[in-house]
Structure formats: C-alpha cells, structure tokens
C-alpha cells in the first residue's frame, strides 16, 4: 500500500483537547509523525504579568484543569524563592496533601482514558467512578472538586479542619480495596498484556536524551522525581517510595501510575495524621525585585516556573514550562515503527496535556506561518534582554 497520511486531530475522539498529529503510514505502520500544537493558546504568561502576585495564583491554576494545583505550587515556590522565605510547617503539609490528592485523581483520570482509548469502556467508567471518591475528599478538604484555590505566595489560603480529618482518612482508606481490585484486573489481564506490553518502548537512553519527565521517565528506568531529588513541601518528612520500572513500554507506564497512587495515598494519610499546628500563612506584603524559580512534581512530571519581580506588585516576567512540553517529543521515537492501533495509546501514554503546553505560532490570514516556535523563542529572549536592561540587571 502506498504511503498515506492519517490525521489525528485537530478534532479527534482520541483526545478532548485540540492537537494535531500527522501520522504518515505505510499500510498500518507509522513511518513518520509530525506533532503540532498551538490551537488553544491563551496567553496565560502575559495575563499573569497583568495581575498582582496574589491574583496570578488563580490564573496559573487555570493553566490546566487536571494539574491545577501543581502550577500554583511551582509558582508560589518561585515567588517564595524571590523573597527567600520558608512557608510555615503546617502550610507545607497542607500543600503536600492537596498536591498528592490531585495526583491520585489525575492518575485515575488517565487510567480511565487509557481504558477508553483501548476500547475498554468498563475500565473507563469504573475508574472514573472511583475518581469521584477522591474528588469528594478534595471537596471536603478545600471546598472544590477541582481547581482548589488553596495556594498563595507565603502559605495556603484555607486551613484543614481537624474534624474533617477522620472522615477524609476513612474515605481514602475506602478507595484502597477498589483500587487493588482494579490493579489486579488491569495488571493481570492477558488481553491488556497483549495490547500494551512491548509497544511504544522508550529506552532509558532516549528518556535521558529527550529529558522525559514524570511517569514517562520513571517507566523507562530513569529515577527522576522532584519530590525526591529536591524535596519541597513535606515530601522529605514522610516515608514514600519512588516507583521506577525498567521496560519503558506503555504497560510499564500504566504500572508506574497505578503504583504511584498507592504512594500518594500513603503520603496523604501520613500528612493528615501528622499535621503540625501553627500558622498557615506568612502574610507576605511586598515582593522585592529579583528572580526566582520553582519546581513541582505534577502528575505528568516536573512543572517549572520562573518569575521575575521588579519590585511592583506584579510579576515582570512569568515563564511556565509544563511537563508535556518535554514528554510529547518522545512520541517521535516511540510511535514510529508501531501500527496505527498502537500509535493512539502510545500518544496517550505520556499523559499529554496540551493546554498546559500550548505554544504560540503566528500565522498570516492565509495560513502561512510567520513565526515558528524558534523565532518566538528568539523574540522572547530579546524581550527578556530588553526588560533586563530597563531594570538595570546584568
């Protein structure tokens, strides 16, 4: 059969977000892939520069609906890095609880979607039903099922009530048996083995070369996790294991995510049981000029924020790098050589989140590309230089 092009996107039942993969196929085998994003650019970095440091937290939270806590986490850490302060101990614990709760619900969401992509809708529905439990927990803790609005530079916005804690622990315990049953059903299913084992292999070297992050790298044997490498929040105060597997195929990515949920449950429980007393907020008033970086391990990998302050109440520059930005290019090696059937689950295997990753492309009305990614990077670097000069920073 001659080579033909299979478009996945911009509208495709595979993913709920707009993205565009052009698969060049020879029969059923993928021989080339082109990844295009940029359909949903919202200019959040620019928006953030128009808001105060406090307001920005809410904007940042809306970068991604699923990792809605890890973006503010990284951002607040970046702001705290400018001021050089440590948040109160209780705030650290609360932040960790919220971030890990989010990891559980995000991994469950991915697991369900992965089932859906494989045509296994029962897994999809069952996992999402289980996810409701954890969303309830988050609602008890923060008042919101999603987009918790718990973070602020210098601490957290809301405290966790002591009377909620037993109920939350009970609810979290109640999901473990169901999760274990699901784990057995998924990890021991021979048909799933046939579909997932040995496909989309990302070798350890490739994972290092592509700077893959999060579960994508950990499934390939690269032990890379911000929570362990540069502990923040309360991660160095609780016992937990980093899940690392060796094969790098889609099955290992599933295994890593399922086992990580157990670790997250452990972290949430330990943090809730050992929640220290004290302040939850530093009540930061002024942010001095300077720059700061913050990283947080989102469910998909390391989220990285850079914030520059010029002494006013607004960030002068705010730069976001979401984990999918690093993970998505790995599809270039994993998808090529596989069949179209496998391509979809491999693409989904990195747990892509396009709205986090969106980069801008400038096109003329006729569709001709005026600036591509590299041009825009150059422009942004030039702008940073100008700002630096204006502020007198070397």
């Amino acid at each position: 059969m001659a080579k033909s092009v299979i478009p996945i996107g911009p509208y495709h039942p595979l993913q709920e977000e707009p993205e565009f993969f052009t698969l060049t196929v020879d029969g059923e085998t993928v021989v080339d892939i082109d990844i295009q994003i940029g359909y949903n650019h919202r200019g959040i970095e620019k928006l953030s520069e128009r808001k105060t440091f406090d307001q920005s937290t809410f904007v940042i939270e809306r970068i991604c609906g699923i990792c809605s806590t890890n973006h503010p986490f990284a951002y607040t850490r970046a702001v705290e890095d400018i001021i050089q302060v440590e948040v109160p101990e209780r705030a650290k614990y609360i932040r960790t609880i919220i971030a890990e709760g989010e990891r559980i619900h995000s991994h469950l969401l991915w697991l369900g979607l992965a089932g859906h992509f494989l045509g296994y809708n029962t897994v999809y529905m069952w996992v999402w039903k289980l996810r409701e439990e954890i969303l309830d927990v988050m609602e008890i803790l923060s008042g919101n099922r999603n987009s918790y609005a718990m973070f602020k530079p210098g601490g957290v916005r809301r405290d966790i009530n002591a009377e909620d804690i037993p109920l939350v622990i009970k609810k979290i315990d109640s999901i473990i048996p169901t999760l274990t049953r699901l784990k057995k059903a998924i990890i021991d299913d021979p048909v799933l083995h046939a579909r997932l084992k040995g496909i989309g292999i990302l070798t350890k070297q490739e994972a290092i070369d592509y700077c893959a992050l999060g579960p994508t790298s950990r499934a390939s044997g690269v032990a890379r996790d911000v929570r362990k490498d540069a502990p923040y929040g309360a991660y160095d105060r609780v016992e937990w294991d980093m899940i690392v597997t060796e094969n790098g195929d889609v099955f290992d990515k599933v295994v890593v995510r399922i086992l990580e949920m157990y670790e997250s449950i452990k972290i949430v429980k330990t943090c809730l049981q050992n929640l220290p007393d004290g302040e939850i907020d530093l009540n930061i008033k002024d942010i001095p000029p300077g720059e700061g970086i913050g990283a947080a391990e989102a469910p998909r990998g390391e989220t990285f924020h850079y914030v520059r302050s010029d002494g006013t109440n607004r960030p002068a520059r705010h730069k976001v790098r979401a984990p999918t930005f690093m993970n998505l290019p790995t599809c270039k090696t994993t998808v090529i050589g596989e069949t179209v059937s496998d391509a979809t689950i491999i693409l989904a295997g990195v747990d892509p989140c396009y709205c986090c990753t969106e980069r801008m492309a400038v096109r003329s009305i006729k569709g001709k590309k005026l600036y591509n990614g590299q041009d825009l990077i150059r422009l942004s670097q030039e702008k940073t230089e100008t700002i630096k000069k204006k502020m007198g920073i070397k």
Partner: protein
C-alpha cells in the same frame, strides 16, 4: 408468500427485535458501567433522527457505490432473516443448501461496510475497510468449520429445516462436546461479525474515528445502524437454529425461546464489556490460531460422533 416473509419477518419483525436487542445490550452495558442507560425507544429514536439528517457525499467519493453500499448490506440482512424465519417457522420451506446461502448472505454486510468505506475515499475509512477485510478473512475460516459440526451431526444435511427437526428428535447439538466447542467458536466469530469489542478494530472510534463509517451521515448511516441492530438479532438466531434447535412458539416454549436468545445476548454483551480492543494482527492470529484449532477439534469430534 415470499414477499410477505421478506417484509413481515425479514424486515419488520427482525428490525423490531433487533432494536429491542440493541436496547438490552446498551442497557446492560450501562448497568455494568454504573450508568443509567438509554430509555427503551432510544435505538429507534436514533435511527429516526439519522434518517432526518442531511446526507453528505464527500467530494472524492465514488457516488453510486457510496450510496448503494448500505442498501446492499441491509438487503442481505433482510434476506437472511427472512430465510432463517422461513426455515424456523416452516421446516419444509427449507431448500437444499440454504445453510450455504445463509453463510454467504451473512458475510455481505461486512463486505458492504468495506465497499462503503473504500468508496468514501477517506484515508481513515480506507484503513478501517482494509481491517474489516482482514478480519473477514480471519473469522470466516473458523466460522465455516464450526458450522460444519451441526451439518455433520445431522447426517450431512445442508437444510436448515432438517437440522432443526433432527435436533427436535435427538436433542440440541449444544449438548454434545463437539457442539459446545463449535458454539464457542461461533460466538467468538459473531462477535467479530457484529464488530464488537474485542474485535471492533475496523471501527475503532479512538483510533480511526469509526473507520468505514466516518464519512456516512443521514440515511446511509441510519441504514448501517439498523443493519447492525438487526444483525444483533439475526446472528444469534442463526446459532440458535444450528445448535439449540431454533425458536418454538407454542405455549410455554415461547419463554424458553426468549431465554435462549437473551442468554446469547448476555454472553455477547459481557464479552464486549470485559475486554479491550485487539489489534488487527492479534485478532487474525487469534482466529487463525486457537479458534481454528478448536473448530477443527470440534469437527473431528463430530465425525467421531461425540
């Protein structure tokens, strides 16, 4: 008489039963998923709604084939249903070799889907159609082998009527070891014929956006949908005739007939809800490897009289 059978039994009765079967299937699936599920008339409403929609024909499509493909598939299902009802209701209306005719007619829906997909000129439809073709080649071999079992068992009869009457006298073939094995093979094959998980790779929604159906809209899609719903009744019906002695409509046996069908539907629904989709090469290997093996064993057992 033939016309009456075609319209009343082949089309109306089968369509009504098929739509009910589709509803049962959807409802059970929904309950397995912890969902509420559709109301009783939803499958019918879907068809009516689709008929009312505009039919779009893509620019690069081969027009005549694109329009006629659903009609060909639908006509063959009506014909095969009429044939089956005819043999079931009046054993003497059966003619020599009607089982072969049924086999041929049952593969035409798949071929019509393939034709429609290729005619639409869409690359996704092309992939879906080529998968459908591979799948057809895969499951036809074990399916035919398994159907040899009732033929052998009934003393090498190629008449559906004789197969039914033989079972009425000597008990259903599904009570023999060979019959059970052949039945299992047949259930797997009709799963693929119906295009349900785990053999729905030709239509894989999340991979190739329903493959051959991707360009169909309006009436064409409605006919394909109705065809699939009718097949959901006709294929189990065929197996019931071959292995469980057909339907009987006198007194309490009606209940038994309904139960036989519901059992088949349940098995199909449960299989489709407890498996992920197989890749096409895996499906081919599955049909040409273990499934054909079981079918051959069933044939040998049948020849030995087991």
């Amino acid at each position: 008489m033939t016309i009456v059978y075609l319209i009343i039994y082949g089309f109306l009765l089968t369509a009504v039963l098929g739509l009910i079967a589709a509803w049962i299937d959807r409802k059970i699936t929904a309950r397995i998923h912890y969902r509420v599920g559709p109301p009783f008339f939803q499958p019918l409403i879907d068809i009516i709604k689709l008929v009312g929609k505009e039919t779009l024909i893509p620019k690069g499509a081969s027009r005549a084939m694109f329009i006629s493909a659903p009609v060909i598939g639908f006509a063959s299902v009506v014909m095969v249903s009429a044939l089956l009802w005819g043999s079931n209701n009046n054993l003497f209306s059966s003619f020599l070799g009607d089982i072969i005719v049924v086999l041929y007619l049952l593969s035409i829906p798949s071929i019509s889907i393939m034709l429609g997909g290729f005619a639409s000129g869409n690359p996704l439809a092309r992939i879906g159609s080529s998968r459908e073709m591979k799948l057809l080649l895969g499951y036809e071999l074990p399916f035919v082998l398994a159907i040899l079992v009732p033929v052998i068992k009934s003393g090498f009869s190629l008449k559906l009527g004789e197969i039914i009457s033989f079972q009425a006298q000597n008990g259903a073939f599904a009570t023999y070891a060979s019959g059970i094995l052949a039945l299992i093979v047949c259930i797997l094959c009709i799963q693929a014929k119906l295009g349900l998980v785990p053999f729905d790779c030709p239509e894989a929604e999340t991979e190739i956006i329903s493959g051959p159906m991707v360009e169909y809209s309006g009436t064409g899609l409605a006919i394909f949908r109705l065809m699939k719903n009718m097949l959901l009744f006709t294929l189990p019906f065929f197996l019931i005739i071959l292995f469980l002695g057909g339907f009987k409509f006198s007194g309490i046996t009606i209940l038994y007939s309904v139960l036989k069908y519901i059992a088949f539907l349940l098995v199909i629904t449960v299989i489709r809800n407890t498996n992920p989709r197989l890749r096409i090469d895996q499906a081919m290997k599955f049909f040409w490897g273990p499934t054909t093996g079981i079918a051959v064993i069933a044939v040998v057992l049948a020849l030995l009289g087991k």
